[in-house]
């Protein structure tokens, strides 16, 4: 009994957590360095369950880390490097202050040769000229620290397997694509921007080579892409060109640190992916393509040193392979004898596989030409992902493969109301057609996308409607098209439109009538039964009066098997509902109510839409009449 009284906050959750400032002091790092370290090592803050206990009775909001995590960080050799660098900077600053140029030179040389490498010398001169505020120290400091992120740490620590890395590549891609569009104005290092550009081009080239693009969505924010890479769904967002304003409430240093991590990750992922396709890494253009690309006016676009990477980023030529490319044999799914659910699943899988194969070769044999006002890179990427050929004006960008005058061009993508010179044997379409084709996994009718035509809405491929939801009529039409049904009407036949529409309406009405007919029939049947019953009753009454014993030949009552079955089922259901317990009944009612509500809302929306369409149609008619 007895013993020492336990003190507060000496065990339990109070000792499991550590506040950020304490952690920082424990590691003897500055806050900026601590942040960098945490990002690079993947250590995140935690929210303790009992904050008051952890905070030793105080309720002040603080950032907490798990003590174990910080202990793990203590073992990191990188921490030592951070400290070393801090000391180096301090020494250098002192030497500058005392104007000991010999010491400055010696320090720089030592640091340069030991850790930095020759290419940083230039930055140090920058640092000299900037009058070395502490900020620039930190800036360059951060930069020099770059080297300390050893990729080895990345592999066996953060991403033990390649698939783990692939799962996390969404973030990396978005960040790289974003940074590669930055202007080289000093918001971040030019080198970082270049690296990001290189990596994103490599990624796009891989997606093209593997033809794994699945979905594209043009939003007001940016372009969303989805690809399936080695069975993993990868989604990323690409900003539109020249869409930047630099927001002030974003911590650029934090973002730059993330980018540093993600560029490293993406580089290694790219390498591995290129290996899986037997592509040369760093990517090389295919030999034949290279020859054909060598046009005489190359120098106009880029320096000699940059022209190769520029050509790579043009995305118009295929890449070289380590093993001479054999036509990819169709990888057919193995067939195993299966039963029941497995069989269904198999079938579904096969169907999906078939669909994907079709999608991969959607644009094969088609030749596109991009006018200069369309987003070149995005379109070239998407078209090449589906196997199409693409080119653009020579003066627009490097790497154009054929001219506008080429007779074999099938589709000319234009985004202006009209074009002067038109060739007969090609379609002039708006860019949305390409994206909608990707999402629909089929070649959509071109008519709705012609020049100057009001486009159908661009639907999000990322939405999956569940039963009872409102589905926009455009999507319904699309689904019908995918099922292989003929489109009810197309806007191409603009003159016949109205007539056809009327026809459609007629059809619909007919359908409605059909439904009504069925109802009528059933009603009639009911009436007939009733009549029979009545007759029987009367007969009975008559029997009661006269008591005539009479045997009439039995009539075979035609039994509607389907109907009885249905009735039985309905009866069963009714009984089941009756037998339900109160609570279950309540829940059931709720579910049913929800379903009905959904249907009701969908109906309402559909009605609204119809009204809207009618209104717009009426407007159109009026306009036509006016014209």
């Amino acid at each position: 009994m007895g013993g020492l009284q336990k003190k507060k906050y000496e065990s339990g959750s109070a000792t499991n957590y550590i506040s950020r400032n304490k952690a920082r002091k424990k590691l003897s790092l500055s806050l900026a360095d601590f942040r960098r370290l945490c990002i690079l090592k993947g250590i995140y803050p935690h929210e303790p369950k009992h904050k008051k206990k952890v905070n030793k009775g105080s309720t002040a909001p603080r950032t907490f880390y798990l003590l174990k995590d910080i202990r793990f960080l203590l073992h990191e050799p990188i921490v030592g490097k951070f400290r070393e660098y801090k000391i180096f900077v301090r020494k250098l600053r002192t030497a500058y202050g005392k104007a000991e140029w010999g010491a400055v030179g010696r320090l720089k040389r030592e640091q340069a040769f030991v850790q930095i490498g020759p290419h940083h010398q230039g930055e140090f001169t920058c640092f000299e000229s900037s009058g070395f505020s502490s900020r620039s120290f930190i800036l360059w400091g951060c930069h020099v620290m770059n080297e300390r992120l050893k990729p080895e740490n990345l592999s066996d620590k953060r991403y033990p397997t390649f698939i783990d890395a692939l799962r996390d590549v969404d973030d990396a891609l978005s960040m790289c694509f974003l940074f590669s569009t930055f202007a080289r104005t000093g918001k971040c290092h030019v080198q970082t921007i270049q690296l990001c550009r290189r990596l994103s081009v490599e990624w796009m080239n891989y997606i093209i080579a593997s033809r794994s693009l699945r979905k594209v969505f043009l939003s007001i924010k940016g372009m969303y892409y989805q690809a399936e890479v080695l069975g993993q769904t990868v989604t990323w967002i690409v900003p539109y060109q020249f869409a930047h304003d630099h927001p002030t409430d974003v911590d650029y240093r934090v973002m730059a640190t993330f980018t540093e991590l993600y560029t490293t990750l993406l580089g290694f992922v790219n390498f591995r992916l290129y290996q899986t396709l037997n592509l040369v890494y760093p990517p090389k253009l295919d030999g034949q393509g290279e020859l054909s690309l060598k046009s005489e006016c190359e120098e106009d676009y880029a320096l000699e040193s940059e022209s190769y990477s520029e050509k790579l980023s043009a995305l118009s030529a295929s890449l070289a392979r380590t093993v001479p490319s054999v036509e990819e044999e169709e990888a057919e799914l193995d067939h195993f004898p299966a039963e029941g659910e497995d069989l269904e699943k198999m079938e579904a899988r096969e169907k999906i596989e078939l669909e994907q194969n079709k999608q991969k070769k959607l644009f094969e044999g088609l030749k596109f030409f991009l006018n200069r006002e369309v987003p070149r890179e995005s379109l070239a990427f998407v078209i090449r992902c589906l196997g199409g050929q693409v080119s653009w004006d020579k003066s627009l960008c490097i790497g154009s493969t054929y001219d506008e005058t080429d007779e074999t061009i099938t589709h000319h993508i234009v985004d202006r109301p009209s074009i002067e010179k038109q060739y007969i044997n090609r379609y002039y379409i708006q860019p949305q057609w390409v994206y909608d084709c990707v999402n629909a996994k089929m070649l959509l009718p071109v008519e709705e996308y012609f020049l100057g035509v009001t486009l159908p809405p661009h639907l999000s491929p990322f939405v999956e409607e569940s039963e009872g939801d409102y589905v926009p009529p455009e999507k319904l039409k699309l689904m019908a098209l995918q099922r292989g049904e003929k489109p009810l009407f197309t806007e191409a036949a603009a003159e016949e439109e109205e007539e056809e529409e009327e026809g459609d309406e007629d059809e619909e009405e007919e359908e409605d009538e059909d439904d009504e007919d069925e109802d009528d029939q059933s009603e009639e049947e009911d009436e007939a039964e009733d009549e029979e019953n009545l007759a029987e009753m009367e007969a009975k009454r008559a029997q009661g009066k006269r008591l005539p014993v009479k045997v009439t030949p039995g009539k075979v009552k035609p039994e509607n098997r389907m109907r009885t079955e249905q009735e039985e089922k309905a009866e069963e259901k009714r009984l089941a509902i009756m037998m339900m317990k109160k609570r279950e009944k309540y829940l059931y009612d709720k579910i049913m109510f929800g379903k009905k509500r959904n249907v009701r809302e969908a109906n309402k929306l559909a009605a609204k839409r119809k009204a809207h369409d009618d209104a717009s149609k009426a407007d159109k008619k009026k306009k036509k009449k006016k014209c």
Binding site: T63, S174, E260
Partner: protein, 461 residues
């Protein structure tokens, strides 16, 4: 001055072969004064009264000669001083000269300003010694001497040595030292990171102790702090060319958010509003006459009860119980206990008949706990996707990116992107609990600003 002239002659005469330029040295006789008699026993008077004019005149003459002719006349050769005058040649020159001058005209004639600026003395300007001096010349001379000496002994300087080493290494094809490449170098190379490495054969304990092997990263760290996806795709209404109703849907959502915000603001304003009573005529009048009108004093009625008989504190003394009373109480207690025990037995027996209801109760209880468990689990699941409170600031959902119907672009070309992806990414990291939400640090002045009026500029008041 006679004496001075005489002395000058003496000085000049003492110089062998000196030719004075001015011949009127002895000409001025008007300046002759009587000799003054002074004591010459003090140095001051020596300076003051000794006559050195002859020497100065001599020196003046020397300087004049140097200035005008560039040296002492006496030292000049005869050729430079004299020439044989043949008259006709001079005339020829005179004839020739005007022609050339006419020809050359203004071009050859130097400007007057140049002529003024021309040095009129023939003595070359003295050399600027400082201009020819080298800083650290002595030190440099010494170091170069030492380097030469070392070179003669065959010892190369360090820089040279390193260079040679590097060259040799390059020639043999092995780089002397592998230098780390910066992470953001656009030309950096990558390799296969996930190849199966050859397992370490060395003793793991040794490796750990010598810090050759890093501490194993705990698996806990590879868990993501949130279940949210990295990229949250915008609602279908955010398409650049949206379907009418999905666009309306998105607009409605944005509208709801806005309404909520306005409501909160209004609420705050309401709460902060000063609840003031506006003075009416009646109240102002009342205030004015306050205390002037004598009112009937209504004294509060005092409570009826007398306070005399009440006890102020508890009675301290209680009478002692008698033996009889105690026994009675004990018996009562025992009886009560017995009654309770009996009751329990009966109740237990009764429970046998209540079995059904008890089991129903139990079932109910179990069901309740199950339901609560499910609820809690669902709540936990929902919590996983919620942003946590990781610091001073709470994560707040950013405004929805929406384009109004009239802002929507008809075509891709005229599309005006909405919002910033950079910010979106930053907030996504915050939402997924990877970094804590933060505000930009506000600028805080350490010292107060001090105003001082400068003389050159006066503030207009």
């Amino acid at each position: 001055m006679m004496a001075a002239a005489w002395r000058h002659k003496r000085v000049a005469a003492s110089q062998p072969g000196f030719l004075p330029l001015k011949s009127n040295l002895g000409g001025d006789s008007s300046n002759v004064k009587r000799r003054k008699r002074v004591n010459k026993n003090k140095k001051k008077s020596w300076n003051k009264f000794s006559d050195i004019q002859d020497v100065e005149e001599f020196l003046e003459d020397v300087r004049l000669q140097e200035r005008t002719t560039g040296g002492l006349i006496a030292e000049k050769t005869d050729d430079s001083l004299f020439f044989v005058d043949t008259g006709d040649k001079d005339e020829k020159d005179k004839d020739a000269q005007p022609e050339t001058t006419v020809k050359k005209g203004k071009h050859s004639k130097p400007l007057r300003i140049d002529l003024i600026l021309q040095p009129d003395s023939h003595i070359p300007a003295p050399k600027n010694v400082l201009a020819f001096q080298q800083p650290n010349a002595k030190k440099q001379r010494r170091t170069s001497d030492r380097a030469a000496k070392l070179a003669s002994m065959g010892i190369l300087p360090r820089r040279e040595k390193l260079l040679q080493l590097r060259r040799a290494a390059a020639a043999s094809g092995v780089s002397a030292k592998k230098r780390a490449v910066a992470n953001n170098n656009p030309d950096r190379t990558f390799y296969d990171l996930w190849t199966a490495e050859t397992p370490e054969t060395a003793d793991p304990y040794y490796l750990e102790q010598t810090k050759k092997k890093l501490v194993k990263r705990p698996d806990r760290l590879n868990e993501k702090p949130s279940v949210l996806p990295a990229i949250e795709v915008i609602a279908p209404g955010g398409s650049y060319n949206p379907d009418f109703f999905s666009h309306q849907d998105l607009l409605r959502k944005a509208h709801e958010v806005e309404v909520k915000k306005i409501k909160a603001e209004e609420k705050l304003a309401r709460q902060l509003a000063v609840n003031e009573d506006v003075a009416t005529e009646e109240t102002t009048f009342k205030e004015q006459v306050e205390g002037l009108i004598e009112e009937e004093e209504i004294e509060p009625e005092e409570p009826e009860g007398d306070t005399e008989g009440t006890v102020t504190g508890p009675t301290a003394t209680q009478e002692k119980k008698t033996e009889k009373q105690r026994k009675k109480e004990k018996a009562k207690r025992i009886k009560e206990l017995q009654r309770k025990a009996e009751r329990q037995v009966i109740d237990k027996r009764q429970q046998l008949f209540q079995l059904r209801s008890i089991s129903a109760d139990l079932k109910k209880q179990e069901q309740r706990t199950k339901m609560r468990q499910a609820q809690r689990k669902a709540q936990q699941e929902a919590q996983k996707s919620m942003p946590r409170r990781l610091g001073k600031l709470k994560f707040q959902d950013p405004d929805l990116d929406v384009q109004l119907s009239n802002e929507l672009a008809g075509s891709l070309r005229s599309l005006k992107p909405e919002g910033s992806i950079l910010k979106d990414r930053f907030l996504s990291l915050q939402k997924r609990n990877i970094i804590e939400p933060r505000d930009r640090a506000k600028f805080k002045r350490k010292y107060k600003l001090k105003f001082s009026e400068k003389r050159a500029f006066r503030e207009i008041q």
